[in-house]
């Protein structure tokens, strides 16, 4: 879940989709602005994508990470 502080939804979405490890990115309605789906081999990889990569995109304010159980 990615919260932004910019109206440039297309640019942020494309930046998300272009990241290594991100397989899907969507603009969503609600309290957050984007959902990015990540496939990772281990928790360290998730951290690398969520913290190091996504947070550095200009206009991203914060992220929340959920791990799928099925």
């Amino acid at each position: 879940m990615v919260k932004a502080n910019t109206g440039e939804a297309d640019r942020v979405k494309e930046s998300l989709a272009a990241l290594d490890g991100v397989v899907e990115a969507h603009v969503v309605a609600g309290d957050v602005d984007f959902v990015a789906k990540t496939v990772a081999d281990d928790p360290g990889d998730v951290k690398r994508v969520a913290t190091n990569a996504i947070q550095t995109i200009n206009g991203v304010e914060g992220t929340q990470t959920y791990i799928a159980m099925d």
């Binding site: 932004a4 910019t6 109206g7 939804a9 309605a29 609600g30």
Partner: protein, 230 residues
């Protein structure tokens, strides 16, 4: 007309009051029971529960409503209510909570006909109060385009001229004109500008200062600054 308002907080209830005063039928949907009681005490029909559920919106009359206003503070509730209302061929208006989201919802939320950001409207009101008297911002039509109502004063440079003699900058148009104390109407070339007359102008922000100077003259501060410079 018939309206459904989802959310009876400060924005929703106030909107309902304005609509009722103008003779429209309004039903509110509110999730908090104490607030719902207040709504009923104020004489409104109120359906109690989650405004993002279709059966509640149907109970509130969405199937026969002309428009639905999703005016809670919760974006998920607002968007869901608009989706359901759109399915019932209802015009939809959605409240958002942060200004950067305005463009995103305008572009992506096809089911939402109009976005409202209450703080922006509040800011226009506050700006008018701060500017005072002779200039009133009516609406931000686009990012760089605003409708402004000017009231002609004794000091207006165009006082005594006809509308046909008023040469506005190219990025500005006269939209409406009203004599002092009279209603606003379609501007006519031979309308003359006298003290107290009102003139509504659509103008790009870049030329708004020029339009103001033409219709109102220099402000006191500008005159003082010019005197210092001179």
């Amino acid at each position: 007309m018939r309206f459904v308002i989802v959310g009876a907080g400060r924005v929703g209830l106030r909107t309902a009051r304005v609509l009722r005063e103008e003779g429209h039928e309004v039903v509110l949907v509110e999730g908090h029971d104490d607030q719902a009681t207040r709504v009923r005490d104020a004489g409104f029909d109120c359906v109690e529960g989650d405004g993002s559920r279709e059966e509640l919106l149907v109970e509130a009359g969405v199937e026969n409503a002309d428009a639905l206003g999703a005016l809670t503070g919760d974006l998920n509730t607002n968007f869901a209510a608009c989706l359901i209302a759109n399915h019932h061929d209802c015009r939809t208006v959605m409240r958002i909570d942060e200004d950067y989201r305005e463009g995103i919802y305008q572009k992506y939320a096809d089911e939402v006909d109009e976005i409202v950001y209450p703080e922006r409207l509040g800011a226009i009101g506050a700006k008018n109060a701060l500017l005072g008297g002779n200039l009133q911002a009516i609406a931000d039509v686009a990012e760089h385009l605003q409708v402004v109502l000017f009231t002609i004063t004794d000091d207006s440079p165009m006082k005594g001229y006809n509308l046909s003699e008023v040469t506005l900058p190219s990025q500005a148009r006269v939209l409406a004109f009203g004599k002092a104390g009279g209603p606003m109407g379609v501007p006519l070339p031979d309308d003359s500008l006298e003290t107290g007359d009102r003139i509504a102008v659509l103008a790009d922000f870049d030329v708004l200062g020029d339009v103001r100077q033409l219709l109102l003259g220099r402000s006191a501060e500008e005159t003082a600054a010019a005197a210092v410079e001179g």
